[in-house]
Symmetry: C2
Subunit: 225 residues, 2 copies
């Protein structure tokens, strides 16, 4: 994308209240460029300067919007967690099994959630790597990143609450960690290439692998049934 001539924004009346050298939203453009680059070359090879090049600005311009490289990647991870939360929520909403169904049926909802999770990871492997790879938030910078993580965890936690309303919160928390472990672990192994998996087999594979796990967990959580 060639740089605009500077006269382009100044001819005629000044309709834009705040002068903008760049195209409206550099922050957004940088995030888009970053996700693009991550998808092409992976998280290790990503550079700030390349992101600036794609956005059509000097590399120094980035620091106007992000404190440093980590802050940019944290913003990408944050968007990722919000997208993951939205997609798993949508997958649950699209399911025919009602909230009041018996446990045996509700297990299907957990498998559907896992399938949506794995599909997200496969669709955006580099972003997923940024979300789970480096400890971006080790020193508790980026509280909004923490909130986005909590939002994606909440989808699973909500489903477990509906499945086992009588269980202790401790038992539900353990079940949540166990399920998240299994789902994240499977996603990571698939992304690392350790488990070959064609796109049209995702549904059946997730069902075959996770159903025993979900049943094992649910059996502890809902002993009455």
């Amino acid at each position: 994308m060639p740089p605009r001539p500077p006269s382009a924004t100044t001819h005629g009346a000044p309709e834009v209240p705040r002068a903008q050298y760049h195209h409206g939203d550099l922050r957004h453009a940088l995030l888009t460029a970053t996700v693009e680059i991550l998808a092409e070359v992976g998280a290790e090879a990503f550079t700030l300067r390349e992101a600036a090049r794609r956005a059509g600005v000097n590399h120094r311009a980035i620091y106007r919007h992000f404190e440093d490289k980590r802050a940019l990647l944290a913003a990408v991870a944050e968007e990722g967690y919000l997208a993951l939360a939205a997609e798993t929520r949508a997958a649950l909403a699209a399911i025919e099994i009602p909230p009041g169904a018996p446990a045996a049926l509700r297990i299907e909802r957990l498998v559907a959630l896992a399938e949506a999770y794995l599909r997200f990871a496969r669709r955006e492997p580099a972003r997923y790597q940024v979300m789970f790879g480096p400890r971006l938030n080790a020193d508790a910078r980026f509280p909004s990143l923490e909130e986005a993580i909590a939002a994606s965890v909440a989808v699973l936690a909500g489903e477990l609450r509906a499945l086992a309303p009588a269980a202790t919160s401790r038992a539900r928390r353990d079940a949540g960690v166990a399920l998240w472990s299994a789902i994240h672990g499977l996603s990571a192994l698939v992304l690392a290439g350790r488990v070959p998996l064609a796109d049209r087999h995702v549904r059946s594979y997730v069902a075959a692998l996770l159903t025993p796990i979900v049943e094992g967990i649910a059996r502890r959580l809902v002993p009455a049934e």
Copy 2:
């Protein structure tokens, strides 16, 4: 560590057949330095030049032993998989439950394997990150790395074979992937700081989280019992 004076190796009779500028085994020294640096600053911040500095050589000397940075990291990952295989194997060997025990008892062996796995990941988080983070072997360089991975997978596969000798290899492979997913996923979440876990609680936590999962998988694998 200051550089040795060159006369130190040449005084008296030439007892060492092959002349060595450096201390015997630069390759080994570089691997040790790399693991040290990884533990200190993490995988992203690791640099070849720092590894050379710690080994006391010019950074160009590395290329005598490793083709490039990826090759050095692949060697570190390879050592890691071999160590992981050895430690999980040792954990199984130290268990009182004999190989011929019924399935219900043999499940304990799988939990012990998982505990050893998680302990390894916690003891060497940066190395574990290198083992599972970047796709070092995406283009099938480093066949010996692939062998080391296979060796660590074989420990779990062997245990599943003993647990369910009559199951189809397909069923056992699926069970292996499911278990590995759960164990790796839990390790990754713990390392990422998403699941706080004190060292003295590792055993009970692994047991609480993975026993339902292992039982769920085993129930499918050994339906008779």
